[in-house]
Structures are given as structure tokens and as C-alpha cells.
Symmetry: C2
Subunit: 667 residues, 2 copies
């Protein structure tokens, strides 16, 4: 068997710890597995009516057992997995808890020893299992999840409970599942393994990824990048708020940094969502439609009722989605289809839906600026048959439909439209999240560019005072103010003459990271008298004299080593408010110029960078060069732990690094 | 008939413009109304088989007609309403569009003339109507909305389409409707009228309010305040983003200021939500449970699956909801009910739900810190019967349950739990929004305090320069720095001696609102030489010399006249980032001290006010005094248009107003 096929497409399955007591886990598992069309061996050495061992089952069934479903307590699990491996199984599922998450890392280590020794792959422990509805394979201790239909969405969830909850919610929303797996403690098989498995799974059209913790950041990022290049990936990351203690009790792992994980997943091409309902809206839609890569897809909105259309428009605008005014020619054609006085510029308000509704939708989709059509309509079976109106879909523009109405009406319309290839939502908010996901995916795909590699960066040994740090920036091509490092008052006075006033005077000492807080910075010095006074106040010999920079908008840009993701870069706005908001964008290094240029898009205060109150406008490419350069420092200079420019000032003349700190190993 | 009873409980109904062509509006309306148990007159003078007029119908039926449902074009609507009024009708519903929203304000004025002359009340025009399922009354041109069951939620929607969409979504979520109305152009009957009607409607337990525009802000605020004191009100306000042109085409009214409307609705006791799904989560739950007023209710979380429980906890923490560690005694009792190693501090993780699950929920609810229990469980019919576990609910602590599972399982559990008084959600996000609504409602109710009125404020005639504005602040008890208004350089130098340095020197001129931008402010002046230099640079006679304030966190506090809501007060953080985020809280004046003290809670950057990086901590009562005083200025001084303190600095010694501007009528 190749890869994870032994787990997800086994030629035979054994339940180790099977039981004839229907309340026992082993019996529940056997019941779940009974619908799978392959030999099923019930193994329990203490029950003479069941198989005594996996090996014996293989002999007596005359068929290979690829998957062992282990339903024994934690202390006995490793032996059971070993027994299965020896009998030829290539995969095991251990459902029981009682391992690392419950203070017994030794049981988990024992499992991993078996994995290492026998090469068997292990799902779990501490998970409710997985399901592959298309094969009738339900390896879960919640048998009712077998009712989830087959479909195009793969669920890769950190938690078995979330795996089931998502599968049920997808089914409720009219979507089916290709594969749904809860990773539990992920002692062996982790999200990256499953994502790589899905690359070649033809049934999987889009992937829902639920993340609680990350052990190996670059492995996960790589797997997401590989998969999202071929199939849309939508990610829900837990842990925005402090949930640490409970999270640890759950899987035995600390919650990962929410912000960094989200940043790196987005960089790897995953669409991000905020909760499981948005996840269902997004991944269900993406399992039916994927837009071509685009910088900013245009959305045409067609609504049969203005009020819900207004909710939709408000939501789309809030997500920064382009709803372009339709071309004159489109509006002319719509004018022929619609009553006068209806709004036709975009949104297109049809008034009550009637015959011709489909033609309106197609006409909006034909507009040259429209890459995607969003439709909202209440079902009114008496006045319009939405399914036949939207069938055949002669226009080729992708279209998502939201329908409101009675449960029965909505269900019928949804089935009909699904069959005709339309994703269907049931409310304006759901439609907003669906559209947002399609647009976001298209934008992320558009960003997959290959850049000129950055030449290697040479950084001298530390420690680095501000002057030395800025000299590193100079070599990186990052602009710094004219300056002079001075060892005597005389040198400082000479520097004032050379640089011209006003200047800043700063203490130069690599051991002082927060110069301002200890009074180590004097600004706006114009005269020798002022300089002398400031030098006296500092009371040290080694100082930096530096030209003052013009006013502007302050950014913070940095790079540091993340324990999970390795070198990461950060961009934020300066000032305490931005800091209090933790308004920071994070990416892993190296990163493409397009990726780096996109980072400010997610800052809450991004309006400040686009000519706020007549101020300067940020050239994103300039910022991208700085960000990539800092990332490269960490990639090329193992002695550097962190490099930060704070502030990096946006002025009318571009970006200037006003202060810089490098920390790391000192020699 | 009293109030709106003629509309919502008519003794007889006439359809004016009835038709026997089933596709016509008049026929559809008649079909909708056919289930109502009262005489229905079909009126159309051009059809001899129908009644020729409302008066004739009254005679021939021998019954009063309270409600006229007018299904004629805009140009003919006023005459039809007048005819009905003369025949004794006390209410009319005009569905047709083609009025103010479509460039025909004259037709709308004609309708209002009839309303004024005859005292008839008018719903619409330009609405799909309303429904009262408990009376079998569906006055809507979407007959399928008659399938929405009777229940405890009243829907008051700006838009007929949203009214229907919400009613359907409530039904889908297992809730019913007491009354659901779309206001359309709201030419006569507006949201305030319906809210006041609901005060005495015993079937209505909670109210969903959808707002697109507000004509009379204080009328709406008053109605929400009256109603929310008795029944929970949940509000969804449209127009966070720019949707202006489309909104105007919809109802003929401009979108109201989103931020101000939300602030005033919250102040009036309405729970705010961000989209229609949250609205359904919130109002459905509040129609079954209302918490006692409380400052910060504690939530006990019980989860049968840790993963969904983690999503829930993350959401609750993000909403600032208290999830207290359970008392030792509670944890001891839980320890007896649950397997070892499960998390029991709160959340309480039961592992798979089994018999005894209900006892765990009740035990968590008995904790002295727990005012509300949130439960998540996947339905596992084989292992636990959630309905019987949670029945009878011996504990008196309110409990909301979320269940995941197959559509059939969830539906059965939901019905059973609803019957037993539990609100039921179907996902962690839905449960989060339900809990948030209950907590928010309890907090808002807790804030309904009556304060000492503020003594009248006397403000001299303007114009007001900074010194005069600060003198007004002095009379209000708002602290300002020591200062001297000086008319000569000699006075300025004397002031420096009196005040001691460092001082700020500012131009004093009521016509200059942005002193800093024209170089009108010099800071940090310590010596007479510096003062002379600064005076020369200013080049004016009249200046303010003022003691410099210590460092701190800058706020902006102001009051202005809103065209819709009248005098409003605003609180925000200082600095361009906060400004770029529009991070401002708004309330109407007058406001209670508790209300004013709550304003900073909704600022994104609120962490800065609570000792950020060892800085000062804001006393909310101090800020409340300043905010209320500014509001009072606008209430008492008609000549003042706006008063703003920017910045109001939070220092270790409390709040100090560093700059103040008053604008208004100059004499």
C-alpha cells in the first residue's frame, strides 16, 4: 500500500479489542465499520467467538488486513499496534484517550516506538476516527456520522469532535465529504500527511483545515502550499484568545501562535475563516467553483429583494470586495429585461423574481468587469422556478446563489441548483462568506509568483549597537538617515557641522535596547550649545549624531525566529494604539515580493498608509524589499535572533529606518 | 380599535385591487389572507363578481373592515386608502412600490395626506407586508411565508424581503414568530410604532429589529428603551460600509450613520449583532431565556467533545465573557461524576456524553459563580438521550444547548429540548452568539440606572478661543492645566514666572481651529529666551501660556448635534491610528453615568486605558463625568454646535483637558 491508502482505503480491517457488548467502544467501532465493503476481523483474545489475534484473522479470512482499529486502553495500545504491524497492517487507528493529553506521555512514546520499528502509520491516539463516505468506510465511534453523504469536501481536523461537527454541518448545508479525519494527538500522522495524501485524491475538490496546534510549521506550510496550488484549502485556526490550559488538556500540545499560524497559512495559499459556519460556507462553495487567479475579481450582485441585497452588499464591501458599476452596455440590456426605476448599476435589483430572472443573472455575468455573480432570492414557487430559470447556465461566469424560504422549498431549490453546478447558500451572510472565499482564493493564487532570489546577506558578528545595525541595513539597501558614530564630544560637534541641524543625539551601546526609556535620546538639536547640553545629560562618550527625518507615518518591521515556523517577518504600524491592538501581519521567510507587498492589506490601520489626511502614500514594493531583506538576514545569519526597524518611517521621500535593533549570539 | 390592532388583529379585511388572475398581486394577497379567520372582502370595481367598494363590502358582509390591503398602482393608492378609511378601516397596507424610492415623492405625500385627514394608519408603501402566525394572518405577497410557525419572536424589519428572510431563518432554526413586519418606505408606521405595539403583545417574548435608516432618532431610542426594559430587543443595523446609492433606491431614505445608530440603540438597551445569522441566534435564544440584570454574568461551559468546546471557549473569551474557574466544591462534585483526567475547571469536558451528562450540566449550573450554562454535544443516540438527560431541568440556572449531528437527530433533540425550555443552537459559533446575546442583554439591563441630574450649564456667547473654551470646562469641573491668557509679551513672560516651566505657548484665536497645523503651538518652553523666540515666531499679541501636562494616554471626548439623534457624545482614543480606525463610541445625550462609563468598553484600543505598559489606569467614573458634562452643554446651550476636548489626557493624576474647541453660533 502506498502512503495513507492503508488507512483510508484498506483491503481489510481488524478491530482489536472488539466486544459483543454493544455499549463498548469495540462494538460501536465494529458497527460503524460494518458498512465497508472489505473483510472485517473482530479480534479479542479473551472472547473465544472472536479472532484471537490479527495474524489468526489474516489466516482465517485469507485476506490482508491493512488497517487495525485499536479499541484497547492506552496502556495496551502499543502492543496491539505492534501485533497488527507484524501481521501485515500498514495503518492503525487508536481512538482511546489517556496519553500525552492526560499526563501519560510514556504510553504515547510507546506507540511511536512501534511506528518507528515497524513502519506502520498511526492515526491518533485520542480521536474519534475518520470517514470516507464514498467507500462506505466509517471508522468512528460515532456511527451516525455514517449518514454524511459522499461529496467533494475533505475535512482535516485537529479534533475528532470538530471533524464530526464539521461533517454534519456540511451535510446540513447540502454538501458531502470525500474524507473527514480527526487527528487527535497526531502522534504520527499529522495534518501535513493528510494534506499530501489529498493531492492525489480525485474525490477531493476542496479542503477544510482545522488547526489547534502546530508541531512543525514549515512542514505544514509546505503541504498547504502544495495542495492549495491544486485545490482550495480553507483554514480555521483556534486560539485567538487565551484558551491555553483547556487546549493542552485536549491534545497535550500547546496552542500555536494564532497570528503567526494564520499569517503563514495565508501565505501558503489557505483561505482563512473565523468560525466553523464560515468554514462551511467557504469550503462548500470552493468544492464546486474555483475562480481563475486574479488580482481583484469583480462581483456582480443580482438580488430579487433589495433588503437582503443590501445586507449582502454591506458585507461584500466590508470584506474589501470589488462590486464594479456595470458597463453601459450591460445596463442597457438589463434595462430591457427589468422594470424601470429598479437599481441596475450593481447590485441589480430585479424586484420580485419572475420569468426572465435567469436572463438577468446571465446578463450581469456577461459584464466585462464581472468575474463572479452573487444571487439572492427568496423562493416564491408561485411566481418563479429558480432552478429552471438558472438552467441551463449558458453564461460561463461562475455564479453562487443564496435562497431563502421554507425549509422544504429551500431544500428542493438547493438540490436542483447543486445538480446544475451552483453552490447554494441560505442567507446573505452565508453568501458573503462564500463569495469572500472565492475571491480570496483567486487573489492568493494570483500571488504565487517566483521572484529573483535575494543575494546572500553577510552580517558581521554581534553585538550590534544602533550604528552597526544601521550599517547592516545600509548593506541591505534600506535607507537610513545620515549619521556619524562619535567617540568624543569633539567628533559629535564636528558631526553636527557636517550633517547640519537639526540632529538627534543617541547613546550608542549594544546592551541598551530601549534607549528612549532611559533618557538616551535627545531630538531636535540645532546648535552647539544644545549639543553640549545634551552630551552632558547623556554622560557617555560613544554617541550617534544623526540627521532628523521629516514627519511621516511610522511602521514597525522586523524578523525573528519562531519556535514553530522558523524565520518569520512582521509588519505593523507604529504607536501604542497599533501595539495595543496587536495589529501585526506575519509571514514566514523567505517570501515572495508579492506576498510581502500584501502584508499591509490586513492591518486594521492600513488607511494611514494611503495618503491619510494628505500624507505620504506607501509604495508596497518598497516595503516588500525591506521585509524580504530582513527575512533574508535571518536565513543567512545564524547568529542573528531578531532584527527590528522601529520606526520605519514612511515620508514623502519614501521609507527611512529611524532606529534599528539586532539581537542574537554575541560572537 | 386601539393602536395598531386594526392592522395586526383586524375584525375584517378588504383586498382593494383584488383579481381573479392568479398571477396578479391582488390574487396572491387574497390567497395569503384566506387562512385568516375573519371576513375577507375582495374589492375591485371593474370586476362585477367582486365587491365594488369597501363600503359596499361592509354592508354586504355585515361586518366591519378594519384593514384595507391595497393592491393598486402607486398613482391610485391614496384614493384607495381614502375610500377604505371612509368605510371605517383603521389601517391600510400598501404593498406597491413606485413612491419616494422610485422618484415619485408626490404619490407618497398623497398617501400621507389621507393618513392625516382620516386618521387611518398606513403600513408601507413598498413592502411585502406582515404576518401574525398565531392568528393565521398572512398579509404578504409571498404566501409561502404562511408556513412560518407561531412563536415568541417579533420581527420588525426595515425591508419586506429581510422580514421574510428572517422569518424563514427563524423557522429553520426551530423558532416561531409572534408578528413579523416589513416597514418598506415607513411613510406612516415606523419601527417605533411597532415596538410600542409590542409592549402589550403577550405572544412576543423577544424582538428582532432590522434598521436601514432612521428618520426620528429620539423616537426610535425611546421606543427601544421602553420595550427593552420589558422584553429583549436585538438590533441589526445596515450600512457599516458605503451602500448609500443602493440603499436610497430601496426605500427612498438615506442610510443612517451606522456608528451613531448602533451606539444609541445599545444605549437604549438593544443587543447589537453583525449579521442576520447572529440575529437569529440571539433573538431565538432571548425569546426563551432572559438573565437577571448583572454586571458580568459567569458562564459555565459543559462540552461532550473538547474540540468544539475549544471553539466555543475561544469565541466566548473573544466576546469578553467571563468563564470563571469553578469553585472547589463544584469541581469535587464533578470529580465524582466524571472520569479522572478530564478537564473540570471550566470548561467541563465530559468526554463522550453518557448517562449522567445531565447531572454534570446541573452541577456546573449550581456553581455560585455560574449564572448561565452553555452546553455543546454531538448527538449520539446510541450512547445518550440528551433530551431525557436534560429533563426535568431540576437546576434553575438558565442553560443553552448546542447539538451537532445528522439533520434528523438534531431536529428531534431540538424539538425535545425546546419543549423543555432550552434554547438550542447547532454549532459552536451559533452557541457563542446566543450566549453573548444573553450576557449582553443582562449587562444592558444592569445599566438602567437613574442618576442625579446634572445642574444646568451656563455657557457664555461665542466665539470661544481656547482659553474661553477651557473656562467653560472649568465651570463643568473638567480639569485643565494652569494657564494665563496674555495680551502682551510682558504678560506672557510674567506668566512663565508664575506658572514655572516648562510651558506651552499657543496662539489664542477663536477663528483658528487647527493651531498645530499652522505652527501656532510651541511646546516645552523653559526659559525667557525660548519664550521670546517662540513669541517672535508666532507673531501675534494674544497668546495662551500654559503649564505642560505630564505624559499619558490621549483620549478624544466630544459632543455634537446629530441630524437624526440630536445631541450625541463621543469617546475615542487619540492619535492617527485610532482616528484611521474610526475607533469611536457614540451615545445620545443625556446619558446615565453607568452608560457613559461603559463607552470605552467598545473601543478596540481599550487596553491602553488599563495600565498599558505600566501606564495610568482610567477611572471610568471620571471619564463619565466629563462625557456627561459635555452632553449637558449641548442640551443647555443652544448656541453651541460642538464641543471637543482633544486631547483629554489620562495621566497618573487623572484626566486633564489639554485642548478644547467649542464651535457654534457666534452670538
Amino acid at each position: 500500500m502506498k502512503g495513507l491508502d492503508g488507512l483510508f482505503a484498506p483491503r481489510g480491517v481488524a478491530v482489536i479489542g472488539a466486544s459483543r457488548n454493544p455499549a463498548k467502544l469495540g462494538a460501536v467501532m465494529a458497527r460503524s465499520l460494518s458498512t465497508y465493503d472489505a473483510p472485517l476481523a473482530l479480534v479479542n483474545p479473551r472472547d473465544p467467538e472472536l479472532h484471537g489475534s490479527v495474524a489468526e484473522a489474516v489466516d482465517s479470512l485469507g485476506a490482508p488486513i491493512d488497517l487495525a482499529v485499536v479499541c484497547v486502553p492506552a496502556a495496551a495500545a502499543a502492543d496491539a499496534v505492534a501485533e497488527a504491524a507484524k501481521a501485515g497492517a500498514s495503518a492503525a487507528l487508536v481512538c482511546a484517550g489517556g496519553f500525552a493529553e492526560a499526563g501519560h506521555p510514556e504510553f504515547q512514546r510507546a506507540l511511536l516506538d512501534v511506528v518507528d520499528r515497524h513502519g506502520i502509520r498511526l492515526l491518533g491516539p485520542n480521536t474519534s476516527g475518520f470517514l470516507v463516505p464514498g467507500r462506505g468506510l466509517t471508522a468512528s465511534f460515532v456511527p451516525s456520522v455514517g449518514s454524511v453523504p459522499a461529496g467533494g469536501v475533505a475535512v482535516v481536523a485537529a479534533s475528532g469532535g470538530v471533524n464530526h461537527a464539521l461533517s454534519f454541518l456540511l451535510a446540513e448545508a447540502g454538501y458531502g465529504v470525500s474524507l473527514a479525519v480527526g487527528l487527535g494527538n497526531a502522534a504520527d500522522i499529522d495534518a501535513a500527511d493528510v494534506l499530501d495524501h489529498l493531492l492525489a485524491d480525485p474525490a477531493t475538490k476542496a479542503v477544510a483545515l482545522h488547526i489547534e496546534s502546530v508541531a512543525d510549521g514549515s512542514r505544514l506550510a509546505g503541504a498547504v502550499a502544495r495542495l492549495s496550488a491544486r485545490k482550495p484549502v480553507v483554514a480555521l485556526v483556534v486560539g485567538r484568545n487565551d484558551v491555553g490550559a483547556f487546549a493542552k488538556s485536549h491534545t497535550g500540545a500547546l496552542a500555536t501562535s494564532w497570528r503567526t499560524t494564520r499569517g503563514v497559512l495565508r501565505q501558503s495559499g489557505a483561505v482563512l475563516v473565523d468560525d466553523e459556519r464560515q468554514l462551511v460556507d467557504a469550503v462548500g462553495t470552493l468544492s464546486m467553483i474555483r475562480l481563475a487567479p486574479a488580482l481583484s475579481p469583480g462581483v456582480g450582485v443580482v438580488t430579487a429583494q433589495a433588503g437582503p441585497g443590501l445586507l449582502l452588499l454591506d458585507g461584500l464591501r466590508g470584506a474589501g470586495i470589488r462590486v464594479p458599476v456595470l458597463a453601459d452596455e450591460t445596463q442597457r440590456r438589463l434595462g430591457e429585461l427589468l422594470p424601470p426605476m429598479t437599481y441596475q448599476a450593481n447590485p441589480v435589483d430585479t424586484g420580485r423574481p419572475g420569468p426572465g430572472f435567469g436572463e438577468v443573472v446571465r446578463t450581469a455575468g456577461d459584464d466585462p468587469e464581472v468575474d463572479l455573480v452573487a444571487v439572492y432570492a427568496l423562493t416564491e414557487p408561485d411566481s418563479v422556478d429558480l432552478v429552471s430559470e438558472l438552467s441551463p447556465q449558458t453564461a460561463s461566469t461562475p455564479t453562487v446563489v443564496a435562497v431563502g424560504g421554507s425549509t422544504a422549498d429551500v431544500s428542493a431549490v438547493r438540490s436542483g441548483l447543486h445538480e446544475r453546478g451552483y453552490p447554494v447558500a441560505t442567507s446573505p451572510a452565508a453568501l458573503t462568506h462564500a463569495i469572500r472565499a472565492l475571491v480570496e482564493d483567486a487573489c492568493l493564487n494570483n500571488r504565487r509568483s517566483v521572484d529573483e532570489p535575494i543575494p546572500p546577506v553577510a552580517v558581521p558578528q554581534g553585538p550590534w549597537d544602533e550604528h552597526q545595525a544601521k550599517t547592516v541595513l545600509d548593506t541591505l539597501g534600506v535607507r537610513t538617515p545620515s549619521r556619524a558614530a562619535c567617540n568624543t564630544p569633539e567628533e559629535a560637534h564636528a558631526a553636527l557641522d557636517t550633517l547640519g541641524g537639526p540632529v538627534a543625539l543617541k547613546i550608542l551601546d549594544a546592551t541598551i535596547l530601549h534607549k528612549t526609556e532611559i533618557g538616551g535620546v535627545h531630538l531636535g538639536i540645532r546648535t552647539h550649545a544644545e549639543l553640549s547640553e545634551a552630551l552632558d545629560a547623556l554622560g557617555v562618550q560613544r554617541v550617534l549624531v544623526e540627521r532628523m527625518a521629516p514627519a511621516g507615518v511610522d511602521l514597525i518591521v522586523g524578523a525573528r525566529r519562531d519556535p514553530v515556523f522558523g524565520p518569520v517577518v512582521l509588519v505593523g504600524l507604529g504607536g501604542t494604539t497599533a501595539e495595543a491592538l496587536a495589529d501585526v501581519a506575519v509571514r514566514a521567510a523567505p517570501l515572495s515580493a508579492a506576498e510581502a507587498a500584501s502584508m499591509t492589506d490586513e492591518l486594521l490601520g492600513r488607511a494611514l498608509l494611503d495618503g491619510w489626511r494628505g500624507g505620504p502614500v506607501l509604495d508596497r514594493r518598497d516595503l516588500a524589499r525591506v521585509v524580504r531583506a530582513l527575512g533574508q538576514v535571518l536565513l543567512d545569519a545564524p547568529q542573528v535572533d531578531e532584527i527590528e526597524i522601529n520606526p520605519l518611517r514612511l515620508t514623502r521621500d519614501g521609507l527611512v529606518a529611524l532606529d534599528a535593533v539586532i539581537t542574537g549570539k554575541e560572537q
